[in-house]
């Protein structure tokens, strides 16, 4: 379950994406490809595509945080 704060954070990240950035998936619902504007609309609508893209952004931020933690741990 993604929170409103996470959705807002993910939205801000997507807003900063290059204009020509496209998202597509091999899912039966994501097949046509989505522009940045369309992804923002899905996030605003909080539908399955919007929440999934937001969750992927949050997953990446957690990955970065874990990697940074591992780096600091290894560098003492």
């Amino acid at each position: 379950m993604i929170t409103a704060a996470e959705l807002a954070l993910a939205r801000a990240r997507i807003e900063a994406a290059p204009e020509s950035m496209g998202w597509a998936s091999m899912s039966i619902q994501g097949s046509k490809g989505f522009s940045k504007e369309e992804i923002l609309q899905h996030i605003d609508a909080r539908d399955s595509i919007g929440t999934q893209i937001a969750a992927i952004q949050m997953n990446y931020m957690r990955y970065l945080k874990a990697r940074a933690g591992a780096y600091h741990a290894s560098s003492g």
Binding site: P18, E19, G22, M26, S27, I28, G30, S31, Q57, Y60
Partner: protein, 300 residues
Amino acid sequence: MPVLDRAVATTIKRTSAPLATEYQHTWVSPAIAEAVTYGIDVTHLFEDDATRVNLEAVLSSEDPAFVWLNDHGASNQVRGYYAVNILVSKGASHYADNADILAGRVCYAFACSSSKTLGPDAIAKDCACYLGYNEDFWFSYNEDVYNQYLWLYEPIEYLLTDTWAQSFFNAANQIPISLMQGKTTGVAFNDSQSVFQAAIDYWSESGAYEAPYILANLVFDKQHQSLLGDEYATVVSSPLPPPTCPDYTIQGDCTANGCYWWGDACHTIPEPPPHEPVQFGAGLLMILLLCGGIYGYMGR
């Protein structure tokens, strides 16, 4: 017993919403064409040939050991031409379950989410190994490249110039390429994970404006790639021997397999301790003096 060195692959170019399948077809077809270089006989069911009836007919008549499906998917289905299901497990609407057609075979489903339900169901019905993804497979693409293809009538191969999409398809294609090279399912899976990681490292260090968005999808796809069943299965009659330490070219693979990484290469033994500096000075001086003496003597 399914026939080794034989495979069936599906790709779709145009569906009701084609972008993803156009990219997939364009990037996967060269990998399918590579099969001949590995001595694999592939039946490529393309476009309107990629139907459930044709897939089942090929599996029945040619009995290939390797089934390589490329199209859209969901937890309990992989689709074929015009969004009609080609492979389904229990609960996929009104379609009859046909996961048993994978019995004894290795299957790679380059499609979303089918490792959630369809994969375990196929394994329960004696599929040797099911490789795929247990969440949606998202990829990034450059709309400028796609629009150039779509509106300026560039050939579909123009999509191969999309460097944003490239990382995703290279990683996804590595599983079948490694399998056709004679590697086991487990090694093929690890090879693909390594290609994902190499792409993640590349984009992490690139500093490119688009990098964070590509990275988010790459990390997600790598995390959700899955292998179910036998990790020692092969699809060729002359499988490669297991890799030895010098075969690993990536540090992580090297150390993960109990080898030692030093000198930019993978070794079976740990790095030797540094040698004590050799005291050449006095000996070398003596030799030079001796040579000089001989030279001087002969010069008289």
